[in-house]
């Protein structure tokens, strides 16, 4: 009898208990109103414009999925997100592993660096890479000095720059949750594998990786989804020649005032994002997501 209506039908209880019932629901109203008016309505209105402007119909979606230019944007977006996820996993897994087992004094240092990097202003971090990766930047100069290359590589205003910058930003988002997964595994299980005769490789392949798989999968999914919708870093490091989806949406609105097409692109991004998160909730049992580009 602790449903929403119970306390109004059993008024005596309210004298004693603040607890369940209408009272709790009233507290939800301000946030509900705020999100309904300034979140749900605007987003739905934008999506609506995708099938209403310039004339009702699906022509915006046809254009978006039919035009070479826009398909290229989708391709760029998914490819960068995929590559970033892969690199982040390859370096992030050993890092999370180390973080989970090393002596506390060192892991605290690692934690501090991870958190500092995560909380440092996104523009500051992106700016750093713009400077580092430019033609006359430090990366090119060091590579030339040690003789790896003879003339400077083009590392910005293309997808290489975007990939480096995005990997930089996504790493903490993978390492921190994955570290928690690895910490939760009983080290004795790995000792048991060793005494059973498993070599390090066998223990890694047959025990550690399978046990860490839920964390790896949800971390990778999170990085992938966040990368799909990122705006700032791709826009600054990729330039206009190599556009990604979020930048396309912004451009369509700011420069071309094509709200219908922008709405359609937003809808596609929204469906993919929420769809992948739904997959995560359904099959990987949640796992807190990180933050968007802010």
């Amino acid at each position: 009898m602790s449903t929403a209506l119970s306390s109004t039908t059993v008024p005596v209880r309210r004298r004693f208990k603040l607890g369940p019932g209408a009272r709790g629901i009233k507290l939800l109203i301000p946030v509900l109103l705020l999100l309904a008016v300034f979140f749900l309505v605007p987003v739905l209105a934008l999506l609506l414009r995708s099938i209403m402007e310039p004339v009702p119909g699906l022509q915006n979606y046809v254009e978006l999925l039919g035009s070479q230019t826009y398909v290229r944007v989708f391709f760029n977006t998914f490819m960068v997100a995929g590559v970033v996820t892969l690199i982040t996993l390859l370096v992030g897994f050993p890092t999370a592993w180390l973080l989970a087992i090393m002596p506390k004094r060192w892991s605290q240092v690692m934690f501090a660096i991870l958190l500092l990097s995560m909380w440092t202003n996104l523009l500051a971090r992106t700016y750093a890479w713009m400077v580092l990766l430019q033609q006359t930047g430090l990366v090119n100069r060091v590579l030339m000095a040690i003789g790896v290359i003879d003339e400077p590589l083009t590392l910005v205003n293309n997808l290489i720059g975007v990939t480096i910058g995005m990997t930089y930003i996504m790493l903490p988002f993978l390492v921190l949750p994955l570290h928690a997964t690895l910490r939760a595994i009983d080290p004795s299980t790995l000792r048991a594998a060793a005494i059973c005769g498993a070599s390090r490789w066998q223990a890694l392949r047959l025990v550690l990786l399978p046990l860490a798989l839920p964390g790896i999968a949800s971390g990778a999914l999170m990085v992938f989804v966040m990368s799909l919708g990122y705006y700032v870093t791709p826009a600054l490091l990729g330039g206009t020649g190599y556009m990604m989806l979020a930048e396309l949406i912004a451009q369509l609105v700011q420069s071309l005032l094509n709200w219908g097409l922008a709405g359609a692109a937003a809808f596609v991004l929204l469906v993919v994002t929420l769809g992948l998160y739904a997959v995560q909730l359904r099959y990987l049992g949640g796992g807190r997501s990180g933050m968007g580009d802010r």
Binding site: S188, T189, R191, A192, A194, I195, C196, A198, S199, A203
Partner: protein
């Protein structure tokens, strides 16, 4: 004499400044059930972990069949081990858990299947092959762990407090199983526990650990009847410790003088030198009878008595106000009641003098 099966030679392990074990030496015969018994932090687990290869000793040597184990990686040692927590692989079924050591040894599939069936039969879990560990009780999981540890016929099985997470009834059940498995397979077992009853029930021999050293090694009977230190006497079984002044008499005997001046003789083979000591007598070796003490007899007062079915338990007070425990058959306790005076006695060979 042939080389002992497993030799532990002068093992020493220090962490920073802390000495975990200090010159532990022990020989173990093939097929023996050897238990390391001691309180937590006594070094018994550290010794076991060095044999397993999870820790490296600061000094010393471990030899199996005369060959050093220390240079061999844990996965090459071919030793079986059962852990305190079950440490089954949670993502693998019971059958796959038992098959794991065989798979990593790349045995043929048919052999693996036959062996898994045989091992699950051995621990009476024939019908559980496709269960996941999470769906089983603690006792069942520990049996699977035993099956997994024995699947590759290791010559040596290490067990690190394997029953401490189970309740008493289950513990006794698996202790019984362990004895049967030990007899059926003939595997040499090194068993770590802090439970003296468990040690007595299971072991051929027991090594009692205290503060990083082995205090005494022997069969359960030897440790109980002829403890060589106050620690062993106190750790195994119940004991009364009476403060005494010791006067050595030679041939391993001594005169023990109580605080009230009365004296008895006792076995002092474990007493080195000095004058202050302790006389240990087991409660069931002591007798009391109603009456007043005369001459050298020890007068006590009954403070409490408890009926325990198969025996009576008495708490008696000595003239120097120490409370002692006495355990006797029910019929021998006739005529005693709380507050009555009594005479306390024991055979002199049951009194052990320690420093």
């Amino acid at each position: 004499m042939t080389t002992p099966f497993l030799q532990i030679r002068g093992l020493r392990k220090t962490y920073d400044q802390v000495v975990a074990i200090d010159h532990v030496s022990l020989d173990i015969k093939q097929g023996e059930f050897m238990t390391f018994l001691g309180p937590s932090g006594s070094g018994k687990s550290t010794t076991l972990y060095i044999v397993a290869g999870f820790q490296e000793p600061t000094e010393g040597q471990v030899l199996l069949n005369g060959k050093s184990l220390l240079d061999v990686a844990p996965n090459q040692r071919n030793i079986g081990m059962v852990f305190q927590r079950y440490t089954l692989f949670p993502h693998l079924t019971v059958g796959e858990n038992v098959a794991f050591p065989l798979r990593v040894r790349r045995r043929p599939e048919a052999e693996i299947k036959a062996k898994v069936d045989k091992m699950l039969e051995l621990v009476h879990l024939g019908g559980y092959r496709d269960r996941l560990p999470g769906q089983m009780s603690g006792g069942q999981q520990q049996r699977v762990a035993i099956a997994r540890a024995l699947a590759y016929d290791p010559p040596l099985l290490l067990m690190d407090e394997p029953l401490s997470a189970l309740d008493k009834k289950l513990r006794e059940e698996i202790q019984f199983e362990l004895r049967r498995i030990h007899q059926e397979t003939g595997v040499t077992i090194l068993y770590v526990t802090h439970d003296q009853e468990e040690a007595l029930r299971l072991s051929d021999r027991i090594a009692v650990f205290s503060q990083g050293k082995i205090e005494q090694v022997g069969t359960g009977e030897e440790l109980y009847e002829r403890p060589t230190s106050r620690f062993v006497a106190g750790f195994i079984g119940n004991s009364n410790f009476l403060p005494v002044k010791v006067e050595k008499l030679g041939s391993g005997r001594a005169r023990a003088v109580f605080p009230n001046g009365q004296a008895v003789e006792g076995d002092a083979s474990a007493f080195a030198s000095g004058s202050d000591g302790t006389l240990m007598v087991r409660p069931e070796q002591m007798r009391i009878r109603p009456g007043t003490a005369v001459g050298q007899e020890l007068a006590v007062t009954v403070r409490d008595m408890t009926y325990l079915g198969d025996s009576m338990h008495f708490a008696v007070q000595t003239p120097w106000n120490q409370e002692l425990a006495v355990r006797m058959a029910v019929r021998d306790g006739q005529g005693l009641c709380i507050g009555s005076s009594a005479v306390l006695e024991w055979d002199t060979q049951h009194g052990h003098v320690f420093a």
